[in-house]
């Protein structure tokens, strides 16, 4: 419901779909934690895969907002142009509660978006908003860019 509200707010405020991250940086554990269980429980792994797919809205030149079932991630992406390299800084949240931070180098070419970087993730929840278990790990994201979204 919150996502639907955010989407409707986004639509009314000039936001547009920037990309869809098929492998998202947040929570960023799908490749390491879930994919190894694909053979063991394909249904569950696919559901977790769907839950982490992140449509990312963009407004202005640099600001983005990722909305998946797993997280809400505001970010700032600076790039050299429509195609080419860029830099992404984002703050993944769990229903608005910051759960970590992300910095990554991005790359765009046509419909392909990819990034590689480092993320600091914690298990902070609304019940226990603590960051003592913060872990830093590499992250990879792959996304699809609908034609001319940022043009």
């Amino acid at each position: 419901m919150m996502h639907a509200a955010l989407f409707s707010i986004a639509a009314s405020s000039g936001l547009q779909l920037d990309r869809v991250e098929v492998i998202a940086d947040d929570p960023g554990t799908y490749l390491t934690d879930e994919v190894p269980l694909l053979a063991a429980r394909p249904g569950g792994t696919l559901l977790r895969g769907v839950a982490q797919v992140q449509p990312v809205l963009g407004w202005g030149e640099h600001f983005t907002l990722g909305l998946s079932l797993s997280s809400i991630t505001p970010g700032l992406e600076v790039s050299t142009g429509t195609d080419g390299l860029g830099l992404l800084v984002a703050m993944p949240t769990r229903l608005g509660l910051p759960s970590g931070a992300l910095i990554a180098a991005t790359w765009r070419r046509g419909p392909l978006w990819a990034d590689i970087g480092m993320r600091a993730a914690s298990g902070a929840t609304w019940h226990a908003p603590q960051y003592s278990d913060l872990r830093v790990a590499p992250t990879v994201g792959i996304g699809w860019v609908p034609g001319g979204a940022r043009d």
């Binding site: 929570p27 554990t29 934690d33 190894p36 269980l37 053979a39 063991a40 429980r41 569950g44 559901l47 839950a51 079932l69 797993s70 997280s71 769990r94 229903l95 509660l97 759960s99 993730a121 298990g123 902070a124 929840t125 609304w126 019940h127 226990a128 278990d133």
Partner: protein
């Protein structure tokens, strides 16, 4: 040319390596049996482990399934290794084998090992206690006359039980049925369990907890497995938790068994009742919280999706649930918990279990998670 380049860069060459091997002393000391090999004597900890099951169950290792030992003849000259594609393939295969077969967690037999015999049955009690399994779990409910019986649901499971006249059972609630009526009128285990097609089909009466206690007393104390009892208290369809705890632990206290059972439940108030009752009897009862709590029958899918969403958004939290329950350990649902969850609760819990899981691939996959035990219907896997 290559060797010259290596020498110029200061790396050992192939000839240097051969000379080094020739100078190595030959050690042909016989090696002893692998610790933890199948068949090794089982040791049960009489006191709660500080970090769960690690190191308490020597037969948990299954490395022997993959490991092969090959002796090479020792001669005057050892040929240098050649990294052919075959060598690479074998090396990668070995790494994959070790990774796949590495077993880092112990096993708890779910419902007495329901992959082998009917769950919570007399056959399960006898079979699991005759095995070398280090930990065995059963479910307990109270009948109308407060007799604890081994059964997984607060009602006779219509999928597994029939009347003595071989008719299907309807809604037979244990809370409304005396033990004598259960014993005289119903049989369970005589219907094949579609989840475990290889399990034996053996029709038998519902088993009272007393039989499990007697069977345990008949075993040498050192060979007794750790018993996990899932106390399935459900509000409105069960006796109150205090009665539950008194009937279960009271029987245990009267027995010769020194180690109390590990109590497993999905409601903190059930665990509280058992802890308090154990305290009054001078028993140190370990408790395990099942997380998250799912409905007993029907609605599991919708409930699971709701839990999954709440967990991913940080609204439900196993660390908070464990902390609030006061339990010693936690049993995570394999369908809902994430690897991150298991890592986080491991920092707080004395031990972390995950289960039940039944398929071999699942057991192997989850064994790589940071958990102390996998709850499974077939602990031999």
């Amino acid at each position: 040319m290559q060797q010259s380049l290596h020498r110029a860069l200061g790396y050992p060459t192939r000839d240097d390596w051969v000379d080094e091997v020739d100078r190595l002393p030959i050690d042909d000391e016989p090696t002893g049996p692998l610790p933890g090999a199948r068949g090794a004597r089982k040791t049960i900890s009489a006191s709660p482990p500080t970090r769960g099951f690690r190191g308490h169950h020597p037969h948990r290792s299954s490395l022997g399934r993959c490991a092969t030992v090959q002796e090479y003849p020792v001669g005057d000259h050892v040929p240098p290794p050649r990294l052919t594609p075959l060598t690479w393939t074998l090396a990668i295969g070995l790494v994959a084998c070790v990774s796949a077969c590495r077993r880092t967690s112990s096993r708890v037999a779910h419902r007495g090992g329901s992959a082998h015999w009917p769950e919570n049955s007399r056959s399960a009690v006898e079979g699991s206690l005759a095995s070398t399994w280090a930990a065995v779990g059963f479910d307990v409910f109270l009948t109308l006359d407060r007799v604890p019986v081994l059964h997984a649901q607060p009602f006779l499971d219509p999928a597994l039980c029939r009347t003595v006249g071989d008719r299907p059972v309807d809604e037979i609630w244990l809370l409304e049925t005396s033990f004598d009526a259960l014993f005289a009128g119903y049989r369970c285990g005589g219907v094949a369990d579609p989840r475990f097609p290889d399990a034996a089909v053996i029709e038998d009466t519902v088993v009272p907890l007393d039989e499990l206690i007697f069977a345990l007393e008949a075993i040498d104390p050192e060979d007794r497995p750790e018993i996990h009892l899932t106390a399935g208290f459900f509000p409105n369809v069960s006796h109150d938790p205090q009665t539950y705890a008194a009937e279960v632990l009271g029987r245990w206290a009267l027995s010769e068994l020194e180690t109390p059972p590990v109590i497993v439940a999905d409601l903190p108030l059930t665990l509280d009742a058992f802890r308090q009752d154990g305290h009054t009897r001078g028993m140190s009862v370990r408790t395990t919280l099942v997380w998250p709590r799912l409905p007993v029958a029907g609605g599991e899918t919708a409930a699971s999706l709701g839990h999954a969403l709440a967990i991913s958004m940080g609204v439900e939290d196993p660390v908070h649930a464990l902390d609030a329950s006061g339990a010693d350990g936690i049993r995570l649902s394999p369908a809902l918990a994430t690897r991150t969850d298991s890592r986080r609760v491991a920092e707080l819990a004395d031990y972390v279990e995950l289960g039940p899981v039944h398929r071999t691939a699942e057991i192997r996959g989850f064994s790589a998670w940071p958990v102390d035990a996998i709850v499974t219907s077939d602990p031999d896997q």
